[in-house]
Symmetry: C2
Subunit: 348 residues, 2 copies
């Protein structure tokens, strides 16, 4: 792997999770074996990585090589096409790691036709970085992670609903970090009412997600943490036409049919939520699984057995489906955290 392209991918990884539905991209400009500019796309609507790097390089860009983690764009979106800026600034060669199949017109072609030496140098690391982005381009849905903390025997609480704490403190820390890597956390009204979670990263050094609460009720009686924390937005999605909201609050209320999670997810994607994580009770968790909406599953299993009748098994459905139609995942990795097992899986 070329060291400059490697650096560009590093930059892209550093800003991953802060660009919303845009891909995170890094760019490095090199001339006479020296780095003369670099940049990354920091936020949707702001300058792309190539533009940041060109700005740093200034007139030096003339005759230089630019290394980019993703094929430069060729379209007018919220910003003008990067391929045009590369051409206009007199760049001589372009090396990029991943082809952008979502472009209507190839940036590669546009650069090549302008007489620039263009090279696609594939990288597995960069491909992994854009997997979710390309999927979103097709589905127009956020990349949905479902997080579950469970006993070994698949229960999230005893039959008497005791659930604090099944997994370890170390798992809790891991979950706080996971939250900061998502644009939004989705939960159910029942979880808010019964567990009263804050659903932030609880760490001033980490960013916080928007909290999205799905509820069929028309109000929240009581003083919940999630609503008290005014620093971070809350969106209540409710099927109730007469939802009674708090006054002077940072809370947005939306009406939607809660039985169709896919439509709610599509709306979230359109509003710029690209990476969302579901942390909820068995009812909502089961709906996400049953409606095939889980892209990634992160399951923390405590090595303990709860037993009972399994009233709070995390996956319960009305329908009994044949084994051949059970929901399939693929194990990506396993890790032991504070004595518990963390299993990361992807939809198969």
């Amino acid at each position: 792997m070329n060291q400059y392209l490697d650096f560009a991918i590093d930059l892209a990884e550093r800003v991953q999770g802060q660009t919303g539905t845009n891909p995170s991209v890094g760019a490095v400009i090199v001339k006479d074996h020296k780095i003369i500019g670099f940049g990354a796309h920091l936020k949707k609507g702001e300058a792309h990585a190539e533009i940041q790097a060109l700005k740093m390089a200034g007139e030096e860009a003339q005759g230089a090589t630019i290394y980019v983690s993703l094929e430069p764009c060729s379209h007018y979106g919220l910003t003008p096409p990067c391929a045009k800026a590369i051409i206009d600034n007199g760049i001589q060669s372009v090396v990029y790691a991943v082809k952008d199949g979502s472009l209507k017109n190839s940036g590669h072609e546009m650069l090549y036709e302008a007489g620039i030496d263009v090279k696609h140098e594939p990288s597995k690391r960069a491909e992994d970085l854009y997997e979710a982005f390309f999927q979103q381009q097709q589905t127009k849905l956020p990349f949905i992670t479902l997080k579950i903390s469970t006993s070994l025997d698949g229960k999230v609480a005893t039959d008497y609903k005791e659930s604090k704490w099944i997994t370890s403190k170390e798992v809790k820390q891991d979950v706080l970090k996971l939250r900061s890597q998502h644009d939004a956390i989705i939960t159910g009204g029942m979880t808010v009412r019964e567990d009263n979670p804050l659903l932030t990263s609880r760490n001033p050094e980490l960013s916080n997600p928007t909290r999205i609460v799905l509820t069929e009720q028309s109000s929240f009686e009581g003083d919940y943490e999630i609503f008290k924390d005014e620093d971070n937005p809350v969106v209540v999605v409710t099927s109730s036409e007469s939802f009674h909201t708090y006054e002077n609050q940072h809370i947005k209320v939306k009406n939607s049919d809660l039985s169709n999670l896919k439509t709610i997810m599509k709306d979230l994607y359109e509003e710029g939520y690209a990476q969302v994580m579901v942390e909820a009770g068995p009812k909502l968790v089961s709906q996400f699984i049953e409606q095939d909406l889980v892209d990634q599953l992160i399951i923390y299993q405590a090595p303990k057995m709860i037993g009972g009748q399994g009233k709070y098994q995390y996956y319960q459905t009305q329908d009994v489906v044949p084994l051949s139609n059970s929901k399939l995942f693929q194990i990506i990795s396993t890790e032991i955290i504070g004595g518990d097992l963390k299993i990361t899986l992807r939809k198969k």
Copy 2:
């Protein structure tokens, strides 16, 4: 680690699982930097490792050093004490890896008092080898492994009882090998009637366990694999006073109260079953867990979700216990086999 002691532990590992309730032991005799004898305890009631090695060394043993994986025994059991044979054969030094706390009189002391140079050289590998043996010395119970093949959400079948196949072919191979490492496989009458398993290792190169069937019924109607296979013994443990056995069969029938699994296990240990594995349906599996009889848990999790109401969750109990009393295990290792996750746990 001394190379000869290492060899002695290797020998002990090679014969692990074939010595019943006796520990597997290896011994190596060395004189003038050359190996002049070695042996292992092959079968309960037959010569111990030290005796085998002394026999191979013959008169050369005079003035030699013997390396043994476990402290030589000092008591008359089924065979005379090894410490006495070591003394009688003129051995000059003894090096052993693990102290045998189950001995009434220390073999170390007996050798030392006879003027032999005795050294205890601890080894983690050898300690692991004897963990189950020492536990059995105290509990007088077999070391009980519970094997479960389950979906990610803790079910061993759909609500309509479809269970073939939840886990992969590769897992099946792994289970066949596991069977050969146990003296007996314990199952329930219902599993025999409904799944009709053979419960052997299905490999002429591997040894086969005794099949032990626990049943409340008074007979088995039909032609079950487990009874047809006359090469390997079957023990039926039944609470029915009038169990009707097959004629001309290799089947032993025992009467016992099935609600007290611990007594049944104690009886098995007395009959020489040191390592047993439970492969059964949710009812028997749940009883073993609830009665705290599981020393080791080997759980194969297919990365799929079955859902439904969880009629066949593998762990179900009548009682609801507080979380603080849930059954605790400790994760020893994880491995991916044919796309499924194998988790090995020990009782905590």
